[in-house]
């Protein structure tokens, strides 16, 4: 039994079935990449795993720490140790990143406003953030800005990874974290993810393109087409995709970003 096990997951959006039976076992210490062309169900997979209300589970289960996480609220899944870095992080005006991070961290520690011993202290909070901000090349001013408000594409993605670094999940899902990023941002993000890699973290990278996998080396690569895995293997699967794209499955899409002049 793997640490995190997706069994025959089927899910739909607005009555249309997108995931048609996905199974995947992830152990802590492993990095899995799920690759697929547009519309293959990548985002549905990530959102369904985290419990987004717009996605309906039609069948299957996801076992993590003895529970079927599909029965839990998103916040319960997070506190159990799951994390989703969103492809499109959401703007929430009026709440500073610092407040957001502190509230999330307190929630993970079970602080509900009563038992102050569970609360993250300002000093602890600062020291926790210091290194991570450095690795991600972000400065302090970022903490006083509102959640994702006015952030560039790169800043948003780095902010997602910062949240991951602070919350220290056991299973992290990175949903197209590389899309829309310049090469420097990809490197910073990859550096941070690689820092966190280790026996206490299982990673699921969801991506259209192979490029990010040059920086975060996956142990396993799975190809998702039309809501099902069509191929699973080691890093060599990514190499194969890099050459031929998704054409073997009838999708004329490259697995590398088009060069932008």
């Amino acid at each position: 039994m793997a640490d995190f096990e997706i069994k025959d997951l089927r899910a739909s959006v607005e009555g249309r079935q997108i995931l048609k039976g996905v199974s995947l076992a992830i152990n802590k210490g492993e990095v899995h990449a799920v690759m697929g062309p547009n519309g293959s169900g990548k985002s549905t997979l990530s959102h369904t795993l985290m419990g987004h209300p717009g996605y309906t589970v039609d069948g299957g289960e996801v076992r993590f720490k003895g529970q079927n996480v599909l029965e839990l609220e998103p916040d319960e899944r997070a506190r159990l140790g799951m994390f989703l870095a969103l492809q499109y992080p959401v703007v929430v005006p009026g709440i500073s990143m610092a407040n957001f991070l502190r509230t999330a961290l307190n929630a993970h520690r079970g602080y509900d406003g009563k038992d102050k011993s569970k609360m993250v202290t300002p000093k602890e909070f600062r020291s926790l953030l210091k290194d991570e901000l450095e690795v991600l090349h972000m400065d302090d001013s970022f903490l006083s800005r509102y959640i994702n408000d006015g952030f560039s594409g790169g800043e948003k993605k780095r902010a997602e990874i910062l949240q991951m670094a602070v919350l220290k999940p056991e299973i992290a899902i990175l949903d197209e974290t590389d899309s829309g990023l310049d090469i420097d941002s990809i490197k910073f993000v990859a550096e941070e993810v690689n820092r966190m890699r280790g026996p206490n973290l299982g990673v699921l990278i969801i991506t259209h393109y192979t490029r990010v996998l040059e920086f975060i080396k996956p142990d396993f690569v799975h190809v998702l087409v039309d809501g099902k895995f069509v191929l699973s293997g080691g890093p060599e699967v990514a190499d194969r995709l890099e050459k031929t794209g998704y054409s073997e499955w009838g999708k004329e899409e490259a697995a590398q970003p088009q060069e932008v002049a």
């Binding site: 998103p74 916040d75 989703l84 959401v90 929430v92 009026g94 709440i95 957001f100 929630a107």
Partner: protein, 469 residues
């Protein structure tokens, strides 16, 4: 009870007011409104004749004025079943134990200190903060600032008082300003001399003998040329009262180059009709800022206004309303541009929950000849569920040239995407919703002194949990 102020008619009142009246007279406040009641109020306060006449004239006007036929439904107010004047001792609830459980629970949750609670709850008529009060008063007196309750100001500064009282909001302005003019009691009086900048906010509840949270308080603020003052009334803890009508009048005069900020956080208990007239006159290059938060009451009708009387004057209204179950917050602002080259902004934020209703009602008037005016209105409504309601009623009258008038209104719901995002970080649903609401009103909160901002956020949290009113 040991904590209650001693009220010995023979001693206290003679010392304080220099007159004496029979015991049975003091303790028998009558319900209802007629010239006798009004005369009695004036007599008990030992007022000059002009004020007694002013009150009686106002009562006449009140009788003749129709009820407003717009806004909230006020037909249930029974003017004959209200006590129009109560001595402090009579305002008190008999004991702490008799207070409604929800009010007590809120004080607990907000961590309001005991002494302050009793004051707020009406159990004690005085908030014993004499030490703070005295050092503050000393400091102000040195600068020539007058900060008194309005009754004392009438006694101690009769000429200054008479010069300005009733000049900004005459009794005939509306039915409730007439009512207040007839039966007013308490409130704050502030005079800031030329060029004096008061560096700490003046707060109503620093004052002892505070009747400022009474039903018909009357506030008058005069900022002389080049001065500055920030006045704060109310607080975030709910104010409990058994009387159901609160009708205040606030008049402010901001002279050349002066600036006045008036911050209100009202959180009346949800049986109260809160009908308040607030108006300021701003003269050359003067600035008037209303920061107005309405959380409590059953019905609020309040539209702070600024009359921009001379070139360069600037008016701002920043308001927040929160309407829960059974509440209707009808609030907004008015900007009356009398002079050219004047500017104004109204920013209104409202939150409706559990079937609550908020309305933005605003009026921008630009008189002929008031050219080169800039005015901008922005109202944002947040609905927390499908039963709640929000409306916008903007009125614009423009009779001048070269006017820039902007209006922007949004109605939104707490979005699933925002909620999911915060929850996906481990934050429970209720807390996430509260965060989103606090974020929504942040442009308001950030204008408050820190301790008020913190309390307001905590209060929103309680409202969101539905544990209050």
């Amino acid at each position: 009870m040991a904590t209650q102020p001693k009220l010995d008619v023979g001693v206290d009142y003679k010392d304080k007011y220099g007159f004496f009246f029979p015991e049975d007279y003091v303790f028998k406040a009558k319900r209802g409104l007629n010239p006798e009641v009004v005369k009695e109020i004036s007599f008990m306060k030992g007022e000059p004749e002009w004020m007694t006449k002013f009150r009686l004239r106002s009562l006449e006007i009140f009788r003749k004025k129709p009820m407003p036929n717009w806004g909230a439904d006020l037909s249930v107010i029974d003017f004959e079943n209200i006590f129009y004047y109560l001595k402090p001792a009579e305002k008190q609830s008999a004991s702490w134990e008799e207070l409604p459980a929800d009010i007590k629970a809120t004080y607990d949750r907000l961590g309001v200190p005991e002494a302050e609670r009793k004051f707020l709850a009406g159990v004690s008529a005085q908030y014993e903060s004499e030490v703070v009060y005295h050092s503050l008063q000393e400091n102000l007196t040195k600068k020539g600032v007058i900060f008194l309750d309005t009754d004392s100001a009438l006694r101690e500064h009769p000429d200054l008082f008479k010069e300005y009282f009733g000049t900004v909001i005459p009794p005939a302005d509306n039915k409730f300003s007439a009512l207040n003019s007839a039966v007013w009691s308490g409130g704050s009086f502030i005079y800031v001399p030329k060029g004096v900048k008061v560096d700490i906010p003046l707060q109503a509840y620093f004052r002892i003998n505070a009747e400022n949270m009474g039903q018909f308080e009357r506030t008058l603020i005069i900022c002389d040329e080049g001065s500055f003052v920030h006045y704060i009334e109310g607080c975030t803890a709910p104010i409990y009262t058994t009387d159901s009508l609160h009708s205040a009048v606030v008049e402010i005069i901001v002279k050349k180059d002066a600036r006045c900020r008036y911050t209100t956080i009202q959180n009346w208990s949800t049986n109260v009709f809160n009908l308040v007239t607030k108006r300021a006159m701003a003269y050359r290059d003067a600035t008037m800022e209303w920061v107005d938060g309405n959380l409590g009451s059953q019905i609020t009708m309040k539209y702070p206004s600024v009359y921009l009387m001379e070139p360069g004057a600037k008016g701002d209204v920043l308001s927040v309303a929160f309407a829960g179950k059974g509440q209707h917050q009808d609030a907004g602002g008015k900007m009356i541009h009398v002079a050219p080259n004047t500017t104004s902004t109204i920013t209104s934020k409202s939150i409706s929950k559990g079937g609550g209703r908020t309305s933005y009602r605003g009026h921008i008037k630009i008189y002929p000849g008031a050219n080169n005016v800039k005015s901008f209105v922005k109202c944002d409504a947040l609905l927390l569920d499908d039963e709640s309601r929000s409306d916008t009623y903007p009125y614009n009258d423009v009779d001048a040239e070269n006017v820039t008038l902007g209006h922007e209104a949004t109605v939104s719901k707490v979005s699933d995407e925002q909620l999911f995002y915060l929850m996906s970080r481990g934050i429970p649903r209720a807390e996430a919703e509260t965060m989103i609401v606090n974020g929504f009103i942040e442009p308001f909160t950030k204008e408050l002194p820190l301790e008020y901002a913190v309390e307001l956020n905590r209060l929103i949290q309680l409202e969101m949990e539905g544990s209050v009113g």
